[in-house]
Amino acid sequence: MAEFEPKIVAFVCNWCTYAGADLTGTSRIKYASNVRIVRFPCTGRIDYMLLIKAFDEGTDGIIVSGCHPNDCHYTSGNFHARRRWIMFRSLCDFMGIDIRRIKFSWVSAAEGAKWANIVNSTVTAVRELGPYDEYKKVAKKPVKEVIHG
């Protein structure tokens, strides 16, 4: 059997991590191709419902990343996001969602190498954990839903 390749979804902010990931590319640093990047205006916009939806749709791990504290383009978006993450992580842990699969990080626009490291280490960690069968079993839709729009 072929080795399990995890699907990772990264929720990143436009101003730091997205630019950082861009730098990783322009610097020609190779990193795992398991990651799908979703760009947001700010980490403050990353609703926890979106993270849950990512698990629904069959992702095995999530990366959430934005500007370092005090570097936010909107001054305090990442500080507000951090508070929300503290609560969200704790609730996930309490409900038994595997929080080892959700990684949070600060990556600035200059940290292309750090981004590659974070993706690689997350992919390695999730590969060891295996597919997120527990959630996938539950996420199997009871009725085939027709998606509009």
Binding site: Y48, M49, I52, K53, D56, P69, N70, S76, F79, H80, R82, R83, R84, W85, I86, M87, F88, R89, S90, L91, D93, F94, M95, G96, I97, D98, I99, K103, F104, S105, W106, I118, E134, V138, A139, K140, K141, P142, V143, E145, I147, H148, G149
Partner: protein, 266 residues
């Protein structure tokens, strides 16, 4: 509570308030909400240990607000909810008069919501011992055991939203569960939708829940969903210095400190 009955009657006779919200005898030995608009109706007001529902869930309803100025018989959790609602600009001194019922079952009439706050701040929100034990037990489980526990506990839920209706903090005109483009929460009574609904409910109440247990008491299936909000309350204490509703202070989740915990961020 003769005192309460008398005062409610006076207020209605004088026309100071248009409606008094309190408890009355219901069916099957239970109590229900009373909306007294006539002085005579105020005689039906009662208060005893069965009066556990949170009446503050009515004061944000448009049809109740439309009646005019309201007076509300408020126990400690109800007073807490009123303060939180006032801080979210849902009620104000202009449309609400609080007839407080102290934990010793005496009545105090408050001049304004600031006075209610001064009274409420004498009491910390404490989690009952039976719940702390349960939470402790859950904390000791492995994540997979907790996962199975919640899937099992939530499985009977058919999303009647009684918990939402009973909660004074759930006053949005359109709730996330009613959005269907995209469908955030799957509607069928199915593990996924149940899990997501309860998760969403708990996180929307983080830093706002006044721990009145109205959701748990309203649940027709006895799902221990108040454990989730209690856990949020403990986290608020652990990370942000505790929660106490206040009309002046910032809301816990809409403020921040530069030194909030970040040891989990790479």
């Amino acid at each position: 509570m003769d005192e309460l009955r008398k005062r409610a009657k006076e207020l209605l006779e004088a026309g100071t308030v248009k409606v008094v919200i309190g408890y009355e005898n219901g069916t099957a030995g239970r109590t229900r909400a009373l909306f007294a608009e006539e002085p005579k109706a105020a005689e039906k007001l009662i208060f005893d240990s069965r009066c556990i529902m949170n009446l503050a869930s009515y004061i944000t309803k448009a049809e109740v607000k439309a009646k005019g100025k309201m007076a509300i018989a408020a126990t400690l959790p109800v007073m807490r909810a009123i303060i939180q609602l006032a801080s979210e600009f849902q009620v104000s001194d202009n449309n609400l008069l609080v007839l407080g019922i102290t934990p010793e079952s005496t009545m105090i009439e408050f001049k304004d919501i600031a006075e209610v706050e001064a009274f409420v701040h004498k009491y910390e929100i404490e989690i009952e011992a039976k719940y702390s034990e349960k939470l402790e037990k859950l904390n000791k489980m492995t994540p997979s055991e907790r996962w199975n526990f919640w899937i099992e506990e939530l499985s009977p839920c058919f999303k009647c939203y009684a918990c939402r209706a009973a909660c004074p903090m759930c006053y949005c005109h359109k709730c996330t569960v009613e959005f269907n483009q995209p469908q955030w929460i799957p509607v069928p009574s199915h593990d996924l939708g149940n899990l997501e609904w309860h998760m969403m409910r708990a996180i929307h109440l983080a830093g706002r829940c006044v721990d009145c247990d109205a959701c748990y008491n309203a649940c027709p299936l006895g799902i221990p969903l108040n454990l989730l909000t209690k856990r949020m309350l403990i986290d608020a204490k652990e990370h942000f210095g505790g929660y106490q509703p206040s009309i002046k202070a910032d809301h816990l989740m809409s403020t921040y400190k530069p030194d909030d915990k970040d040891n989990f961020i790479m």
